[in-house]
């Protein structure tokens, strides 16, 4: 659905993105991951035909963004990092306005507004003035305006920015609800959110693509095992280190902390070896206190990718 080839955008002398190439299939949910200033927003704005590229080609459904921006925009829903809301309008009037702008026929506008309000749980505030809504509701109105015309491609720039944890969960559920109906591009630096919502991640750093694929593929590309495991054992069992290192699949062991009462190791393994680890500890006659797979795996992949020099593993 989207073909990006050698996309480059200069702002004056500075290249915001350089030689970016990737493609996205219809129906995919893509996470666009990068630190602030990495070039995420610039890329999304070009895909949304808000900005013209300096060089390279971007095709959406076979149409070039520089040649047919008008046709492409008919099929795009765009939520910028700051939702484009008119504070003096009511939610219903605003969504109807957005629908009409996106060429929804007059007789279908009410149905389109109802659809967007249902998907984003905004029914109850249909008649309320946007300026008086809370931040979470406003963010949802922002998503609603992007889906009101049922676009084939939905581009959401940091949809969870500024939301509280409860609202982030709501937003995540809402984004899941959009799966299937649209091809979705979400940018974020919320790693956990993006890994749970997206099929595939594109990691961008300093304007270049430094990695793409699913979470596991990224981990593989990083040359790391697919899991980091922490083991906490009672006391200071010095004889255990060799036993843990000998478990098939364990690449590296490292003592994270040690004290009178307990010792913690971090194991890097290329597969899930928790069962073997537990058995090894117990058969060696020690007390296993804690065994967990590192939840922050994606974060470490992300940090590794973005710290590596551009042009690193793809």
């Amino acid at each position: 659905m989207i073909e990006v080839d050698k996309l480059t955008k200069y702002f004056g002398e500075r290249a915001a993105i350089r030689d970016l190439s990737f493609s996205i299939a219809r129906g995919e949910v893509i996470g666009f991951l990068g630190l602030n200033g990495a070039g995420k927003t610039t890329t999304l704005r070009i895909l949304g035909c808000l900005l013209l590229p300096s060089s390279g080609t971007v095709r959406v459904d076979g149409l070039e963004v520089t040649q047919n921006p008008y046709e492409i925009r008919r099929n795009i829903g765009f939520l910028p990092d700051m939702p484009p809301l008119y504070p003096e309008m009511t939610v219903g009037a605003y969504l109807a306005f957005a629908a009409r702008l996106r060429k929804v026929p007059r007789q279908n506008v009410a149905a389109a507004v109802a659809y967007a309000e249902e998907k984003t749980a905004l029914r109850e505030v249909h008649g309320e003035v946007i300026g008086e809504l809370s931040h979470g509701f406003r963010q949802r109105v922002g998503v609603a305006q992007a889906i009101v015309h049922k676009p084939a491609l939905l581009i959401l720039d940091e949809p969870s920015a500024g939301l509280d944890p409860a609202q982030i969960v709501e937003m995540r559920n809402m984004l899941r609800g959009l799966r299937g109906a649209h091809t979705v591009l979400i940018s974020s630096h919320f790693l956990t959110e993006i890994s749970q919502t997206c099929d595939r991640l594109l990691v961008i750093q300093a304007g270049e693509l430094v990695g793409q694929g699913s979470e596991d593929e990224l981990a593989m590309a990083m040359g790391r095992g697919s899991s980091l495991i922490e083991v906490e054992v009672k006391g200071q069992p010095n004889d255990l280190a060799a036993g843990l290192a000998a478990i098939p699949g364990v690449a590296k062991t490292r003592v994270v902390s040690t004290s009178e009462s307990a010792t913690t190791w971090e194991l890097t393994a290329n597969r899930d070896v928790r069962a073997q680890v537990a058995r090894t500890v117990v058969t060696a006659g020690h007390d296993l206190l804690r065994l967990e797979q590192n939840e922050r795996r994606l974060e470490s992949i992300f940090m590794n990718l973005t710290q590596a020099s551009p042009g690193g593993p793809q």
Binding site: L51, Y70, R73, P83, P84, Y86, M89, R100, L101
Partner: protein
């Protein structure tokens, strides 16, 4: 063209719902009323109705210029300031539709707030005779001058990042165009002819003020409106590069 109308309607509703629209309307009528009282109705009561009327339109042309700049400053600069421009820019709407929609909304609002002033020239009827044609011509002149100033204001608003900057840019452009005439009379041939003809007020407005419609003046104001809007559309298109 539907998008133009859609944008114009939303913008007009914004004018009517916002405080600033009413404040501008009330101030304009207040200032105009005071000036009409002080100058046109003035101490010298032995004047012809046409003189009074002419002075009314003379004063009103100044009010019109200020009001136009104030009305147009928000048109595009505010959308850029608050980020709502993205809603329009990401929709299948062409730049000319955005600019025309904004311009027409301000023009309609300007007409709406000018209509209540009609009672002032009609007051002249109490003590004298009045040519309704003269009144209509004066208002036509105000309408054309207002439309040219709004178009220049729309251009200023398209260029500026903030509303304050928009006022400064459009105010500067309008002042510059008005000053072309006085400056032209100090300049040598052949430049002076061009400058005198290009002046925004001195040559083209006074005929309307005294009840004369010259095709030359009508064409001038329509042309200024057209070119200012044309450049505003180009300016908005160029934004896609940055």
């Amino acid at each position: 063209m539907t998008a133009t109308w859609l944008i114009a309607r939303r913008e007009l509703a914004g004018f009517l719902r916002s405080m600033s629209g009413y404040v501008i309307a009330a101030s304009a009528l207040f200032v105009q009323g005071i000036l009409f009282n002080a100058l046109a109705l003035g101490p010298d009561q032995n004047r012809l109705s046409t003189e009074v009327l002419s002075q009314f339109f003379w004063v009103y042309s100044g009010t019109m210029i200020v009001v136009s700049v104030l009305l147009s400053m928000r048109l595009l600069a505010e959308e850029r300031q608050t980020g709502t421009i993205v809603l329009l820019a990401s929709s299948p709407v062409r730049e000319y539709e955005i600019v025309l929609g904004k311009f027409f909304s301000s023009l309609i609002f300007l007409i709406l707030i000018t209509l209540p002033s009609v009672f002032m020239p009609l007051l002249v009827l109490v003590n004298g005779k009045l040519s309704l044609g003269h009144v209509a011509t004066g208002y036509l002149g105000l309408f054309l001058l207002g439309s040219a100033c709004l178009a220049i204001g729309t251009l200023g608003s398209a260029l500026a990042r903030t509303q304050l900057l928009a006022v400064i840019i459009s105010g500067g452009m309008i002042a510059g165009m008005i000053l072309l005439f006085p400056l032209g009379s100090l300049t040598e041939r052949p430049l002076n002819d061009i400058m005198l003809a290009m002046g925004l007020w001195h040559r083209h407005f006074p005929p309307f003020q005294s009840g004369l419609i010259n095709l030359r003046d009508v064409v001038y104001y329509v042309a200024v409106t057209y070119f200012a809007l044309f450049i505003a559309i180009r300016a908005l298109e160029a934004r896609r590069w940055r």
